[in-house]
Every structure is written in C-alpha cells, then in structure tokens.
C-alpha cells in the first residue's frame, strides 16, 4: 500500500510524495518527473532512455548463444519497464530531502473524516 506525505520547504514551497510503485513512472518516466517538477531528472531521463534504446540492443545482439540472448533481452525489458516504477518515488523522496524539504503531513492508518 502506498503512503502519502506532504513535504515543505522553509521558503514555503511544498510537494506531495507518494511512496510505492508508480505506473506513470513505469510507462512515462519523463512525464512523471515533469509532474513532480523534477526538471533535471526529466531531461536526463530523456537522454538515458534514448541512449539505452541505441546501446543495449546492439550489445545484446553480440551474445552468441540464443538462449542467453533471449534471457538477457527479457531481463533488460523487465528492468526497463519495472525499475522506474519501483525507484521513482524513492528518487523523488531523496531529491526532496536533499533540497531541505521536511515532512509536514503524513497519512494516518485509521481514517476519521468529518461526518463518518
């Protein structure tokens, strides 16, 4: 289960952070980064995605054994699609904490809203 937190900076800026797997990051990592205002991350991820798409397929094609080649391709594909989804929120948290943001509000386990 993901967990929601609000981070705040002394300058009054704020950000919302959701832990756990992110489907947006898994499929569209640069877009995910832009929505979190991680502009540098978005730019670098565009370059990395472009470079990986050019570098990895030729490298995999160098493997002679078809079985190993298939496994390598599968591992690459799995990592390519799942790693951003799993790592995105951790990266977001790391960037926020490094920039001096602190947790101001956290999710409680028992919801008790008005009128419930």
């Amino acid at each position: 289960m993901s967990r929601l937190r609000i981070y705040m900076h002394a300058s009054g800026d704020s950000a919302i952070h959701r832990s756990g797997f992110s489907w947006t990051a898994a499929f569209l990592f640069p877009l995910w980064a832009l929505t979190r205002r991680l502009y540098k991350t978005a730019a670098i991820s565009c370059v990395v995605i472009f470079a990986l798409a050019q570098l990895i397929p030729p490298l995999i094609s160098l493997i002679r054994d078809p079985l190993v080649q298939g496994i390598a391709a599968l591992v690459y594909m799995l990592a390519y699609w799942t790693a951003p989804g799993f790592l995105a929120s951790r990266w977001h948290r790391h960037v926020l904490e490094r920039a001096g943001y602190v947790v101001t509000a956290d999710e409680i386990s028992e919801p008790k809203g008005p009128g419930r």
Binding site: S11, S14, I16, T104, A105, D106, E107, K112
Partner: protein, 556 residues
C-alpha cells in the same frame, strides 16, 4: 545535407507551406479544439474519479510539523480578491432585504442570459450566409437547431441544478426532427454518428452536473497540448525528411536534433496549456465568471464552432473568413452577457450558510444539497467542509487546476488556524454576475475539528443534514455536540428522514448540556421542501427569529 534531401524538401515545399496558411491553420485549430473537447469528454469521468480519490486520501493526512510561516504568506499572496475586514459582516437587516437582494441578483442573471441567447440566435444567420448556397432542408434544420441548442447553455446558467431531463429530452427530439427533415441525405451515415456525438458533447460540456466543469477545463488544457503535437510534427518534418534508411552518424545526429526540437516545441505548447488553465482559474478566482457561467459560455463557444466547422466544409469562402465570422458571433454573445452583468451589478443584503452533513454518496442526498446550495448562492456565500460526497459535485476551475498540476494539497488546511487565515481561504464576495461561491474548505484530518467550529461561528445559518445519522457517524456526533456547546443551536436547521436516529441526535445535545427543543428540525417531504427550508433559514439568518421558532411556524 545531400541532394536527395533537398529534392525531397522541394517536392513537398508547397504542401508544407500551405499548412501554415491562415485557411488551413483555421481549419486545423478548430479541428484541434473539437477533438480536445471529445477527448476531454472521454477522459472526464476518469479524471473526476481520480480527483475524488486524491481528496479522500489527502483528508486522511495528519499534520506532524507546522508549515513554515512562508507557506501562509505564499497562500495570502496568491489570493486575487480582497476579503472584507470583518469576519461576519452585517450586510442588511430584515428577511425582506434578503429576499429582495436575492431576487434582484436572479433577475440580473436572467436578463443577461436571455439577452445573450437572443444575440446568439439573431447573429446566427451570418454564419449561414457565409455558407453560400445551402439546401432548403438544411436552412430549415439550421433555424430549428440554433434556438433549441442555444437554449441548453442558457437554461444551465439559469437553473444549474435542474432542467437536465428536459434538456436531454429536447436534444433527443431535435435529433429526430433533424433526421426527419433530411432522411435521404447522402451524408446520413456521417450524420448518424456525428449528431449523437455532438449532442452528447454539448450535454456533457454544459448540462451534466458533475462532468461539465471537468470537461470544460480539460478542453482548455488539452487544446494547446494537442496543437503542440501537430506543431512539433510540422517543425521537425524537414529534419526527419532528410533521414536515410541506413543509420549512420549523420542520421543519428539529425534524429537526435529532431527529437530534441520536437520535445522543446511540445514542452512550449504544454506550458501554454498550463498557462491557459491558470488563466481560466484566475478568471474564476477574480469573479469574472462562476463555474456555472463558465460551463454555459463554453457551451455557446462549442456550438458556434461546430456550426462554423460544418458550414466551412461546404462554403466557397476561405475558412479563415468563416473563422472570423464565428469569432465575432461568439464575441457578440459573450459581450452582451458581460455588458449587462457589468451594468446591473448588485450589492445588497447577504447572509452566509454553513452546510454540515453526514457524508453520504446517495444521489437523493446529493440532489437535495445541490438544489439547496444552488438556490442559496443568490442569498450569500456557502461554507462546507469538503468531503468525498460533495467534492466531485463542487469541483471548480481552481481546484481542478491544482489537481491537474499535482498541487491539490495547497488547497488543504493542515491544522486549526486563526480566523484571519481561515477567512483568507474563503471567498465571501459575490462573483461579478451576483452569484456567491460554494466555499469548500479542504481539511487534513488534523484540521477539520477546529475549522468546523470556526465556520459555525462565522455563519449566519446552519443546515445540518442528518439523513443516515446513526452510531457510526463520529464526525457528525462531534459536530452536534460542538454546536450545542457553542450555543449555536438557534441558528441550526436539522434535516432528517426515516434513516435518522433522532434519539441519538437528542442524546448528543443533552450530553452537551442543552435542550433538544432548541434545534429546529424538519423532514424532507413534498416538492416545496427546499422553498420552505430556505424561508426558515433566511428567517433565522436575518435574525428575525431563532431558526427553531421560524421552523415551527413554517412546518406547523
């Protein structure tokens, strides 16, 4: 650059340039806008669902450290309207003052709306004239369709909480009539698809209570974004047309450069989309337009563009000229509305209403609260703690902008705050057209108890909807006790039905040391229930009598 590339560019040069000429640019932009509206219609239910989910999750958060002072200063700076210095200003005395002021606000909106409708209908022949020679059947169809379809946004602006069934029925009848007028048309297949899609879009943009704000706002947001996709393709076409099939260093450099340029162009248009969204939100915040008139205005714009688009397909005139005629048509309609509203701006008596309720997802409950708040908007501002039940119903351009830009938490109160900071969050002044706002106060779990107490003290009348109230409703129990302890029961009208546990209700009041008879209570029965509730609440709010006494005489 090799000779193939140059030859390629020369061969497609004329088509490439033609795309940027006013004629095709007008047609493309209209098409983009209509496509954005259709896309928004398809995505709106999902966006609204996600919005409701986000609100529910944020409501569960608890403050663990106080926000820095800079946060409050930033919020105060972001306010675009000044609020009165007093928290509970006295703007009038008697109930007749209130009734007169409400009636005068309603009349102004009614007059402006029907005048805008008349301007739209009267100016419509101009677009037909631009179409050149049109079949007799099409002309008759046009003159039937324009007044009927234009009545949809007009009625929505006058009766935002009602008329949906009538509107839907009228649209279906219109579709049948138009089909009967031209049963053997060659375009009957296109019409069979186009007309229902068009009618459904118009209905969802203007009349569908929950979706209309989302569809309107998303259309404004998506139009520049979709235009950006086209622009990125257009700008990078010369680069990609120079690519050879064989991948070499030159191809990689070109492809990389082209992709970067496409991303930059797209980013610029997405930024423009965000600014357009901000502008819409600003117009709403400034009070130039309410959520209701925004939906109605977008309805008129959509109608004019659809007629212009259909006419332009057959017209001998250049499309950019039809675009100008359509713009003048839209401009005239909106200007008439704006001018009449501006001329007849009303002040006068006002009273605020606090809406407390058991959070219920039932449509019946939602409909009653919607009708009540829609009618009270002519009397004064409405305050309510945002909850999962009404959050999706009352979503406005500002809240949606915050949600779409991932900043919805900025609309939330983190913990109890002082009265001044709370008042900074509220919009107690009427819009320029005279309607007051429904102020949803979004609270984290750590904020709502203190905030609801402040809202109780700030409000002139309080409705407590206790339908479905039973032992599990701890929040409502807290609110009843707080009302009793604060001595505010004379301002309260409790609304209940067979599902209300009145014994528990009375028990909570007694536990706070008060007498259950101090609170007015009324069942929801009869078609005029809302009228009677409004009279009771106005009587109480105007200080004519305690709400309980007023209720006793009204419901006797």
């Amino acid at each position: 650059m090799n000779s193939d590339c140059l030859a390629n560019l020369r061969a497609h040069h004329a088509d490439y340039i033609a795309f940027a000429l006013p004629d095709s640019l007008t047609a493309t932009m209209t098409g983009v806008l209509l496509f954005a509206a259709l896309f928004a219609v398809a995505a709106a239910p999902l966006v609204l669902r996600a919005y409701g989910g986000q609100v529910r999750r944020l409501m569960r958060l608890h403050q663990i450290a106080p926000p820095p002072q800079a946060w409050y200063e930033r919020l105060r700076r972001s306010r675009v309207r000044e609020e009165p210095s007093e928290l509970r200003p006295n703007h009038g005395a008697s109930m007749s003052d209130l009734e007169h002021a409400a009636q005068s606000r309603r009349s102004v909106i009614k007059r402006a709306t029907w005048s805008a409708y008349a301007a739209f209908v009267v100016a419509s022949p101009a677009i037909l004239w631009a179409g050149g020679s049109v079949d007799r059947g099409d002309v008759i169809g046009f003159y039937i369709a324009v007044p009927v379809l234009a009545a949809v946004p007009a009625l929505v602006n006058l009766q935002p909480q009602g008329s949906k069934t009538w509107i839907f029925a009228a649209l279906v009848v219109l579709g049948v009539v138009l089909s009967a007028l031209d049963p053997t048309s060659k375009e009957s297949v296109e019409s069979a698809v186009f007309v229902p899609v068009f009618v459904a879009t118009l209905y969802l943009v203007t009349a569908a209570r929950k979706l209309r704000t989302v569809v309107g706002v998303m259309t404004v947001w998506l139009t520049p974004t979709l235009a950006g996709v086209l622009a990125a393709g257009w700008f990078t076409l010369p680069i990609f047309s120079c690519l050879n099939a064989q991948a070499g260093p030159r191809e990689w450099a070109l492809a990389g450069g082209g992709a970067t340029m496409a991303l930059l162009v797209l980013a610029a248009f997405v930024y423009a989309g965000n600014r357009a969204l901000r502008l819409l939100s600003w117009l709403h915040e400034r009070g130039f337009a309410s959520d209701i008139s925004l939906a109605a205005g977008l309805g008129f714009i959509l109608l004019a563009l659809l007629f212009a688009f259909a006419i332009a397909m057959e017209s001998p005139l250049p499309k950019w000229q039809i675009g100008i005629i359509a713009s003048v048509w839209i401009g005239a309609t909106l200007s008439v509305y704006g001018w009449l509203i501006h001329r007849a701006a009303t002040g006068g008596a006002r009273r605020s209403l606090l809406l407390l309720r058991v959070f219920s997802r039932s449509r019946r409950s939602e409909r009653f609260l919607d009708t009540l708040q829609s009618r009270w908007r002519y009397i004064g501002p409405i305050y309510e703690i945002a909850g999962p039940d009404l959050a999706r119903l009352n979503v406005d351009a500002y809240e949606l902008e915050k949600f779409l830009t991932y900043r919805l938490h900025e609309a939330f109160l983190f913990a109890g705050t002082d009265d001044r900071q709370l008042a900074d969050r509220l919009d107690s002044e009427p819009d320029r057209e005279g309607r007051f706002r429904v102020n949803e106060v979004f609270c984290l779990d750590s904020a709502w108890r203190e905030t609801v107490g402040q809202l109780m003290r700030m409000s002139d009348a309080i409705v407590l909807d206790v339908r479905g109230f039973d032992r599990g409703r701890l929040g409502t129990e807290f609110e009843i006790e707080l009302l009793a302890r604060s001595g505010l029961l004379p301002r309260v009208l409790a609304v209940g039905d067979a599902t209300t546990d009145w014994a528990l209700f009375d028990g909570r009041i007694q536990a706070a040391g008060c007498v259950p008879g101090d609170v007015a209570r009324a069942p929801i029965a009869g078609k005029d229930a809302v009228d009677r509730f409004l009279r009771v609440l106005m009587g109480g709010a105007a200080g004519q009598s305690a709400t309980a006494e007023s209720a006793r005489s009204t419901f006797a």
